[in-house]
């Protein structure tokens, strides 16, 4: 699995799915359209400032609230290559894996890394490197099957590929 590399957007505890993608936009399920409203209610400038490959770092319980898969879909379609958090809400965790958005739990990285830092995440080893600060952190490495799901861009393609073998 290819390493993620990008600049960091930093948020606090309990970033909920309503601020990730407000329900007023859930009359669409088009990833590109959802991406244009990603993080709108917590960070109006996110969409303007995000570049392909950037990384979100947050504290506890990222993605709490609704089960809307539109939340990880919007984040991924906005160009985010990885979300690092101290912990994730359980439905968001499942959904992110299922749609192929890499996520890593790491308390120390979540605490230290600051907005704007350049960060690299190696998914094979779980090692997170803050290139700006010159620090490294050990996140949880994905088990092989989860890496494959993400490589396949989600559970559906993974199931289909398995069926073909």
């Amino acid at each position: 699995m290819k390493a993620a590399n990008g600049h960091v957007f930093k948020y606090g505890d309990n970033v909920d799915t309503d601020v990730i993608i407000p329900a007023r936009y859930l009359n669409s399920s088009d990833p590109k359209e959802l991406a244009t409203h990603c993080m709108e209610d917590i960070d109006k400038d996110f969409v303007k400032n995000v570049s392909e490959g950037d990384i979100i770092v947050a504290d506890k319980n990222f993605g709490c609230g609704s089960s809307r898969e539109h939340a990880p879909i919007a984040i991924k379609a906005a160009g985010i290559s990885c979300v690092i958090a101290e912990t994730f809400a359980r439905i968001f965790y499942r959904n992110a894996i299922n749609i192929g958005l890499p996520i890593v739990e790491c308390k120390e990285a979540a605490a230290d890394i600051e907005a704007g830092d350049e960060v690299e995440v190696n998914f094979d080893t779980g090692i997170i490197t803050d290139k700006t600060k010159g620090t490294t952190y050990q996140g949880q490495a994905f088990p092989a099957f989860m890496q494959k799901i993400i490589d396949c861009e989600g559970l559906v393609n993974y199931i289909n590929q398995k069926a073909q073998v």
Partner: protein
């Protein structure tokens, strides 16, 4: 090592004698649920899968409840997509306008969920059916698609927290106050990844509607599910509503719990969650002087008969305060009809409230009661996140139907005086 109630249900559905916390299992599903927001995404996914149809057309429930009757063209397109899918696959339990209700009130009422079931739903409040002694949990659309295709889902077996509920709650204390008290105590991630198992003599004082409210908000503490033991009241409810056989599971005496709490229900007071998290709770005597603009009584949390009866008993022969918009939303067509026959709808309308067809509408800021900048709403719904019901500078105070009704009369966040 013994198993918790949740673990026993999961073991039985995975064809295993025992399971333990942390174990990855694949379980057979008794029901797969989706709504008009999550199902279109799932349908898109299932159509990409190389599968022939759905696993069982009787074990899928598709409920059009969030943005119906359709609030705009895009919502109408979503419902059309689900309607066509339901028709193509001859889905038995497709509930459209006229038959629909808010999914988590509707499914138990229609007898589609019973004790011992394993249910997944692409809606976070799917945990509601734990009130009947089922394992039910929210998932996303891709899991829903895989569930519809295969009838199976993978789970990490959860560990559990046990809540001993003891004593009889006071007059104005309901299921909502109990669960808000618990979330205030353990926090919005206090039960992350875990089961919340409720036990104790206090449960005998709770109506089924109280229990649905408590199980419904397990997700607001981060829980995977919330679950109640199956007593005579629960059995009677299922026998009245369902033709299906149910299976009663009980936790082993030596089941392991990560934490245990005892809550004396007789000591609880009406409780309100302040913006912008369900854990920001205060008892009603601590809320201060807060002028409000809107009251919402409804949702999958508190739109059932008990909720409407309590609200009506407070609003009867009185008037909603000038400047307050009071919105009452019975959760299902049956509840709407029962409320009408009991005269509750008349009470609401005469008090100056409006009564809507069932919809999730305002709870998630969809329509039917969106808040403007700096407005405050006392709501019986389940989330008070930033922007949840409208403008990012609006505020939601989560409360019981009683507190919502008292607040509607005074125009301020307020509770009973007795």
């Amino acid at each position: 090592m013994g198993m918790t109630m949740t673990q026993k249900i999961l073991a039985a559905h995975a064809g295993l004698d025992t399971v333990s916390a942390g174990q990855l299992i694949e379980a057979d599903l008794d029901l797969v649920l989706g709504n008009d927001i999550t199902s279109p995404v799932a349908i898109h996914e299932i159509e990409k899968m190389k599968v022939e149809g759905v696993f069982d057309r009787d074990k899928i429930a598709l409920v059009m409840d969030h943005f119906v009757p359709n609030k705009d063209i895009k919502s109408a397109q979503h419902c059309k997509c689900v309607r066509e899918f339901a028709c193509r696959h001859e889905i038995t339990n497709f509930f459209d306008v006229g038959e629909m209700g808010i999914e988590h009130a509707l499914l138990p009422e229609k007898g589609l969920t019973v004790a011992g079931d394993v249910v997944i739903g692409a809606d976070s409040h799917t945990c509601t059916y734990g009130a009947l002694g089922a394992f039910s949990t929210g998932v996303g659309s891709t899991d829903m698609a895989a569930g519809m295709a295969t009838g199976k889902a993978w789970f990490k077996v959860p560990s559990a927290i046990k809540f001993h509920l003891t004593g009889k709650p006071a007059k104005w204390v309901s299921g909502k106050d109990i669960i808000l008290h618990i979330i205030g105590m353990i926090g919005v991630d206090g039960a992350l990844y875990r089961s919340m198992e409720f036990v104790g003599d206090g449960i005998g004082y709770l109506t089924m509607d109280d229990r649905f409210t408590i199980a419904n908000m397990a997700i607001e503490a981060g829980g995977k599910n919330g679950i109640f033991p199956v007593d005579d009241l629960a059995k009677r409810y299922m026998e009245e509503h369902s033709k299906r056989n149910y299976t009663v599971y009980e936790a082993d005496a030596d089941a392991e719990y990560e934490q245990e709490y005892t809550i004396d229900l007789s000591a609880l007071k009406p409780t309100v969650a302040f913006p912008h998290l369900p854990e920001n709770t205060k008892t009603i005597d601590q809320v201060g002087d807060l002028k409000i603009d809107q009251v919402v009584i409804g949702s999958c949390t508190n739109g059932r008969m008990d909720d409407l009866r309590i609200a009506a008993s407070i609003l009867k022969d009185k008037k909603v305060a000038k400047g307050v918009r009071a919105i009452v939303i019975p959760a299902t067509q049956q509840i709407y009809l029962d409320a009408m026959e009991e005269g509750l709808i008349k009470i609401f309308i005469e008090a100056g409230a409006i009564v809507s067809t069932p919809t999730c509408g305002p709870c998630l800021g969809g329509y039917m009661g969106i808040l403007a900048e700096h407005e405050r709403c006392v709501s019986t719904t389940n989330r008070n996140f930033v922007g949840r019901m409208g403008h990012v500078e609006s505020e939601i105070y989560l409360a019981s139907p009683a507190v919502a009704a008292f607040s509607a009369l005074t125009g301020k966040l307020s509770g009973p005086t007795d």
